[in-house]
Symmetry: C2
Subunit: 474 residues, 2 copies
């Protein structure tokens, strides 16, 4: 198992809080081993550190009440959405209370004429888009999992559409959050832009529950485009595919999606999703616009692809064919696991300037091969973001040690290229050392923000900040 530090537990406080919560929340409060395990773990590769109890919150008032009680007794609170986090964000290294927000799943108001929607944090992205479809609207951010919107905000998630529509930071107008003392704040209204003071909205987005718990979101929506066209094209090498991506971005083709699958990933997708794609590197694309516009875009891409040695180009405006392809892309995380049955996946997440992408992907692939790691790669390559998914044998300590060496090497490479160790998964527990390396002196100021807003370090402790850092002044 990967090594994780545990933090000191406030046993007396935890005991008092759990008893008080039992009284107050009755059947909303759970302490069974299995439920606690599930709330610490889920899809992360890191070992499980259980919370002491799980409260299913039904309202902002519930969340505020739990946090107030925890604040009074200096007991940690860890927010939980659907559990699809990958970096140990949900673990409880100092114990404490997991606040499950999945029952706060109301879509409170759709303002179609303003292109915005107000949702509770437990609403998932698929639930929202199903709800919006009849009104001709959609919310573009789509991480692989059917994550909760609160969790997506908390990790500054993105997905395949970010090249066109941005990430969570670009698509949230304002938030409601419960802060470390139990106060409820609203960070803004529904105006499309604002210069009103510090950007608490963006400060909470990506803060991984360490500064406050998001209890409501006002999201920016898009109209479903008049026309959508998808395309795919195979390439002899990942470098050639990346070259085509770079040129597409530089020529200003407004692609909505441009995704890379390496040969190994295509093999996995063929198997899992019953496809018949050439097992060489592949780009999947989507174009949004008018009927004429999407054809123009896909034609432009086709010429670029040809110039870069692309083959088997195919484009379609059929929704059925398109959905099949994109479902396969969204299933890649699980499809890749099929390459090594019974394995544990460990997803890397570096992001580099696009001019360095071909080199970064090439080196990451070569290094994985050199280290004898099975690592299919997919990427949101229009952003310079790609994932090598390391497929590890559970319990194989030697292999895990190699994987950790690889993670560190990969972070080094990305940071050295003026990129980042995480494009969209967040820091959690797993990447705290790389954050320190990436941020340098800036990390100290993140620590000052944390100390200012959560002086007792009860909000999801042990995440983002290295432990040593937060306690430096104690």
């Amino acid at each position: 198992m990967a090594k994780l530090t545990t933090l000191p537990r406030n046993e007396a406080g935890i005991k008092t809080v759990v008893e008080a919560l039992k009284d107050r929340f009755q059947d909303q409060l759970h302490t069974s081993q299995s439920l606690r395990e599930q709330h610490g773990h889920t899809t992360t590769w890191l070992p499980n550190q259980l919370p002491d109890a799980v409260v299913f919150a039904r309202s902002t008032a519930d969340v505020a009440e739990v946090v107030k009680l925890c604040a009074a007794h200096k007991v940690p609170v860890i927010p939980f959405g659907t559990g699809s986090s990958l970096e140990g964000h949900l673990n409880a290294p100092a114990g404490g209370i997991s606040i499950d927000l999945s029952q706060m799943d109301q879509i409170k108001a759709v303002h179609a004429s303003d292109l915005d929607v107000v949702v509770e944090p437990g609403v998932t992205r698929e639930q929202l888009n199903t709800h919006l479809r009849d009104q001709g609207l959609f919310f573009p951010i789509d991480p692989g999992a059917n994550a909760s919107l609160g969790g997506m905000a908390a990790t500054r998630a993105s997905g395949t559409n970010a090249v066109r529509y941005g990430t969570m930071k670009d698509n949230i107008l304002s938030l409601e959050a419960v802060m470390a003392d139990g106060s409820i704040i609203r960070t803004g209204g529904r105006a499309k832009k604002s210069s009103a003071g510090y950007d608490l909205t963006r400060l909470l987005i990506g803060s991984e529950g360490t500064l406050g718990i998001i209890t409501e979101l006002t999201l920016r929506l898009q109209g479903i485009p008049e026309a959508i066209r998808s395309a795919r094209c195979s390439f002899p090498t990942v470098e050639a595919a990346c070259e085509a991506v770079m040129m597409t971005i530089q020529y200003g083709v407004p692609v909505a999606r441009i995704e890379l699958l390496d040969a190994l990933s295509v093999k996995a997708a063929n198997e899992y999703s019953k496809l018949d794609l050439p097992e060489v590197p592949l780009l999947l694309l989507e174009f949004h616009g008018s009927d004429a516009g999407v054809v123009e875009q896909s034609d432009m891409f086709a010429s670029i692809a040809e110039e870069c040695g692309g083959t088997d180009f195919a484009a379609t405006s059929s929704a059925e064919e398109r959905n099949k392809l994109w479902q396969a892309r969204h299933d890649m995380y699980w499809a890749s696991h099929g390459l090594r049955p019974g394995c544990q996946g460990l997803s890397t997440d570096v992001c580099v300037p696009i001019s360095r992408l071909a080199e970064a992907v090439g080196r990451a692939r070569a290094k994985a091969e050199e280290m004898d790691l099975i690592a299919p790669m997919v990427g949101h390559v229009g952003d310079g973001n790609f994932h090598a998914l390391l497929l590890l044998e559970p319990g194989n300590e030697v292999e895990l040690a190699r994987a950790e060496t690889y993670l560190s090497w990969l972070a080094d490479m990305a940071i050295d290229m003026e990129g980042t160790c995480t494009g969209e998964h967040g820091i959690g527990q797993g990447k705290r050392a790389y954050l320190a390396q990436e941020m340098g002196e800036a990390l100290r100021f993140m620590g000052l923000v944390k100390a200012g807003l959560d002086p007792n370090n009860i909000m999801n402790p042990g995440k983002i900040m290295p432990d040593s850092h937060f306690h430096a002044d104690d």
Copy 2:
């Protein structure tokens, strides 16, 4: 004159610092009355509060040295770009040192293939775009003034292109800043997206120099579109024009610019810019895309406009005609002053959800008339942001009092509509009371961030936070 509180001056500290700076910075340090007046005042309507000295910084090291010295003696520092701020951001209510960044005007690196550029904070938007033009690139954010990019970042500025390209918050990849203790931090690299810890980039954007001084910016660039088409259309009422704006946004026409001028503003523009436009409400538009795309877009707008009672629709792809029209738009601030020679302009800046725009503009106009205020209106209406420019007689206290009543009424209305008191100008000294009203409980957490990052309140004190607020715990 509007009333401004002064804050306690640290006379001994200021004296020590000014002497030390004279020794160290020689002819980079100025204490003349006229230069100090200019560095406090410029285009704001608020009275002048002079700094004690002005340092012309030539490097990040210079800035860090000044801040370290000021930190040691608890003396305020106020960053200065071009002085085009409108809300008293540059005043020195507790005295202190103005750090003029205008000589830090180097464009350090253009990464054309990554669509980004690294600039010093004193580079102006026009300087940057002139530099980029030959490479087919541009930076889209365009406030009325030829502001410095550091100042634009500090106030979270936007302008006419925000409806398509977003505001400063959306177009800065990362920053370098000097923090309150003189530390130099870098908030990120050049990756297009990142989930690496707290978003210090966005926290500094819009912080108006109160958390740190921006000394370098990595900006996101756009390719100059293959085709640009502009259009104009007159409307019988501002409400009809706003109706057309709402429909254009809702139908997803990807306008690059959609600007409103009311009848009074058109009159001012005709006079100042020698135009011959019908003196009724006017929309100015710009479309970016392919040759076919921009015609498609302008045709779509033309049908919407017709449906809303628009007349005199005209569209052109001529660069010369387009530039003439947009120059007139950018000159509106000064053109409007021509409606009342010798007047002092006071620009309001509310922003509301677009569904409330027609009502908001209509009520703002009616209220100005009712209060006997001359107030031509222009708006970045695609964002729901509009400016009523109050033209006041200098020294007329009665009129100023009426203007202040109007400001307060306008902020009330915008906040009540789930909008904001400031879409792009910032809070400065002038809007602190409205910020408190708009943010409620959230203001306290802004105060905690400020206290955490600048415990001695030396960074541009008396801006954003109400005085009472920051000193509440002293």
